[in-house]
Homo-oligomer: 309 residues x 2
């Protein structure tokens, strides 16, 4: 599956992913109003607003980008109707040729991780039928359980040509509380990175592994180190833009082949219309055009700073 | 919320929780058949079988037990219909007076953890209405992100009188891969335990904190240490029975007041009918009675070994 993601990145010349993490507060008034008129001020109404919002942004950007990353928490908070909107979003994005990274951060003991892997990147049998429950292309996975919790995902990656991104160094301010602690003189994230490299060898797809990792844009020095620890793993980089990561700081996340990293922006793209320079040019009515412009600006920013093009 | 759990434990004299983690292979043929007859061999059919199975087990055991712990992965693997069965299970258990521990192991950066907290133990506003999305009493949470990822859960615990259990030392064989690594001479799980104790002080409810922890029954020496590190935190103990934890080994997980731990069994209770001594006495037809007997046996085993009663 990583080769499909790489193909999409090369084709669009855009090492970026759009985070579809819709808060109700990001969704323009007129979309909320229309959804509530049809479904009431209900969970179904919120879910409809989210889906209509996502669809408009995808329609306005899909030709420019290789992938999307819906954050399932933002849907889960609207209960079952929210998760229906998540699934519809996954399906719609796939129908547009986008790679879908389900940002689900699951992880548990073996048998439970197997169920999560089935849910998100696998197939489930019911009697003599087989179903693909959520059907993302990639899932993000938490490594705290060690190999028992990761192996079931690897098995499904291999059976089903899918991929995962394992958390190594997260973008948030307190990520160092445990992740930076020194073990035999080296930080925990580096030990996790070494395991990612080792586990990644179990699911190769061309030059890269189906086992990628998450390293926040907010810690470029660590990104540099981790790039060398996991040369075959794609780095999914959150934290660009709203969280403080800069394009200049992204250089060390890429390999010499110009590949190896994909940078996420959520708020910065989907809520672009709420902030200048997009607010006065597009406004809430043309929010999707604002997202398109924000995507173009992000690609130019990263390609300029990282590749000098 | 921890005081409600303690009340239920004292009332039933049973420091146990039944893990409602239904695999299709645990569900008797006749229940699957009936569900498939109504809904086909579909995700809806699987979900119906799961709910009917759960309901029968809850009906046969609710007067004996304080709490249940549905593992959401087992439902998520059947997609949206599976999650509908999860929600129906939560609601049904609550209607029977049981405390519901949603075993969801969520955790992310701050804003995303806030959405997960809302989803599972909080409330969400849609226009002028407010909804409780999944409405569990407790949720399990992964600490890898540090305080940023935990604080939103603490806030919701305080606003909404709910609780969480943070992963400290998990029950699986490879849990030591990262959790046992030494930092300044002490294992990571001990450092996490200290943080749980510190964070727990932010949400007290009587003598105990709404912030509990997860420590596997498979590591009793570590359980003993962690008991002293987190004296005010209830320990949710997985790994008894099927995974190898013994009743004798559970002693150190309890405080001198006879409280402080609640022991989970999933397979050992819900699939009791598949193994002796329950198989020949009850069989698949009377699977719920087998579960009741297995609950009685588990309570006697733990109360005997731990409290000599």
């Amino acid at each position: 599956m990583i080769s499909k993601l790489i193909n999409n990145i090369v084709k669009t010349d855009a090492p970026i992913v759009v985070g579809l993490d819709p808060m109700l507060s990001y969704i323009p008034e007129h979309i909320q109003k229309e959804a509530f008129a049809r479904y009431g001020e209900t969970l179904e109404g919120a879910a409809e607003a989210i889906y209509v919002f996502n669809k408009a942004i995808v329609d306005a950007t899909y030709d420019l980008i290789p992938a999307v990353k819906p954050q399932i928490a933002m849907y889960e908070q609207f209960g079952i109707p929210g998760l229906v909107a998540y699934k519809k979003t996954v399906d719609y994005c796939k129908s547009k040729g986008l790679v879908v990274i389900g940002d689900v951060k699951r992880g548990d003991i073996g048998s439970t991780s197997a169920a999560y892997a089935t849910a998100h990147i696998g197939k489930v049998a019911v009697g003599s039928n087989t179903y693909v429950p959520f059907d993302e292309d990639f899932a993000t996975v938490n490594p705290y359980f060690g190999i028992d919790g990761v192996k079931p995902f690897l098995d499904v990656c291999n059976e089903n040509d899918r991929g995962i991104f394992l958390l190594v160094k997260t973008s948030n301010p307190s990520s160092g509380e445990f992740q930076d602690r020194l073990i035999d003189g080296r930080p925990l994230y580096e030990w996790v990175g070494e395991k990612v490299n080792e586990w990644g060898a179990l699911s190769m797809d061309g030059e890269y592994s189906n086992v990628g990792c998450v390293v926040g844009a907010t810690y470029p020095e660590m990104g540099k180190l981790l790039r060398s620890v996991m040369p075959k793993s794609y780095i999914l980089v959150p934290g660009y833009g709203a969280q403080g990561g800069t394009a200049e700081g992204l250089k060390p996340y890429f390999n010499a082949d110009g590949l190896g990293a994909i940078v996420n922006s959520s708020r910065g793209i989907i809520a672009a219309y709420k902030k200048e320079p997009y607010l006065s040019k597009f406004g809430a009515e043309h929010f999707a055009d604002a997202s398109r412009q924000a995507v173009l600006d992000m690609i130019a920013d990263i390609n300029g700073a990282v590749f000098g093009k």
